[in-house]
């Protein structure tokens, strides 16, 4: 295993971990958004409740969820560690701050990531923690199965402007993180070529706007209905 620890602790190895965990989180975002869109079906929350019930009780999903928590933690801890190391490696500051046309997001990934991490605490506190450990949860019966009325819970949170605004800010931060992160992950993997890199960049820009915007529709929809 010596070669492995040497590989994974090298600069490129660590960046490889950032890239792979980041890409996994991107996949997670797609699945999470696809499921949450069921909030939009005007059926009093039936579709959403069935979906949440399935997600919280299916053993395969639960195993993937554990992996997901692990990858978020790995990505976050490693990301912060790299940012600290990189700051040390820079050593000093210029009297005139560098002006070049690199993106703001690329220069502030650790700040954006930390904000996402804070957002996740709020988000988990609102839902995951409540569903796992909360008491007095609203219940509903769908097709003879009793389950948590997750729809009622989400609607209650999203009826308060403060939370709607907090979610919108969190999603904007995510958009910036992905604005750089999506394409960056492929460059880290060594995938850069005239033929497909422009496509990766274009897909990355669309993704970084469309996915957070897709999520943002949900609190707004619930708030205004």
């Amino acid at each position: 295993m010596n070669w492995f620890s040497k590989f994974i602790t090298s600069s490129i190895g660590k960046k490889l971990l950032m890239s792979l965990t980041g890409l996994f989180l991107i996949l997670f975002l797609i699945v999470h958004l696809a499921g949450n869109l069921s909030l939009l079906s005007s059926d009093g929350g039936k579709a959403f409740n069935v979906y949440t019930d399935f997600m919280s009780n299916n053993p395969v999903i639960q195993t993937i969820a554990k992996g997901n928590y692990f990858f978020i933690l790995l990505h976050a801890i490693l990301g912060i560690a790299l940012a600290v190391r990189n700051k040390q490696a820079k050593g000093g500051k210029y009297a005139v701050s560098p002006k070049n046309n690199t993106s703001w997001a690329s220069n502030n990934m650790a700040l954006l990531g930390t904000l996402i991490f804070a957002f996740l605490f709020m988000h988990m506190g609102h839902f995951w923690f409540q569903f796992k450990f909360g008491s007095g949860l609203p219940m509903t019966t769908i097709d003879g199965v009793e389950m948590i009325d997750a729809y009622a819970k989400v609607s209650a949170i999203m009826s308060e402007p403060i939370w709607v605004i907090a979610y919108l800010i969190g999603l904007a931060v995510l958009a910036f993180h992905l604005w750089h992160g999506f394409a960056s992950a492929f460059q880290t993997l060594g995938l850069n070529h005239k033929k497909y890199t422009p496509i990766i960049h274009a897909v990355g820009k669309v993704f970084s706007i469309a996915v957070p915007a897709g999520f943002a529709v949900l609190p707004l929809y619930l708030y205004f209905n």
Partner: protein
Amino acid sequence: MRLTLKVWRQKNGNAKGSLETHQVEADEHMSFLEMMDVLNQQLVEDKKEPVAFEHDCREGICGSCNMVINGRPHGPMQGTTTCQLHMRHFKDGDTIVVEPWRAKAFPVIKDLVVDRSAFDRIIQSGGYVSVNTGQAPDGNSIPVEKDLSLMAMDAATCIGCGACVAACPNGSAMLFTSAKVSHLGLLPQGQVEHKKRTQSMVAQMDKEGFGMCSNVGACEVECPKEISIENIARMNRSYIGSVLSTDK
């Protein structure tokens, strides 16, 4: 043209440095280094210590004229070293701030001069190819595909100046190292050591304390030889591939 220069002065590596202000009368046909020469002449005449800065070829090929000018390594012009930068790109009355490269792995020796021997050690760790001794081989005896040779030659234009490290917010040397790995690794002559070379140059780069690449891209913007970060991707895949395909 009359200029106000704010130049970084630092006695030695341990001293605390600061910006020192001077007035200089320059000519728009001068190169930036000639303007610095005027400043130093002035300082010598005033019996003051001239500003230490590195320079050698003054034709854009040695990579020693390293200064951060108004926040940009090698100044405001694209694909230009400081020695090739002309004063006509500045205006009469401008204030110009001149600082040394900033990176932990490039400690300041004096004023604008930094120690770039970390780059030499990266080269020593693998920047060579094996050749047969004896008679000089026939030119063109090894076929090289034209596109590959062009790519290798593009990478080979890296002059090892370190502007990439200076520009990088992480003080990363990935652009330099990847240019060296690419220029040798793309050619058939460089194949013998390619995998070993990639691994040892990356290991040496890490050991020197350079930061890790976040793909910000400031390096390729500031590189006077316009080396592309495609080289970094190439080095990443060579590195990952070489680790997974060698016994060590």
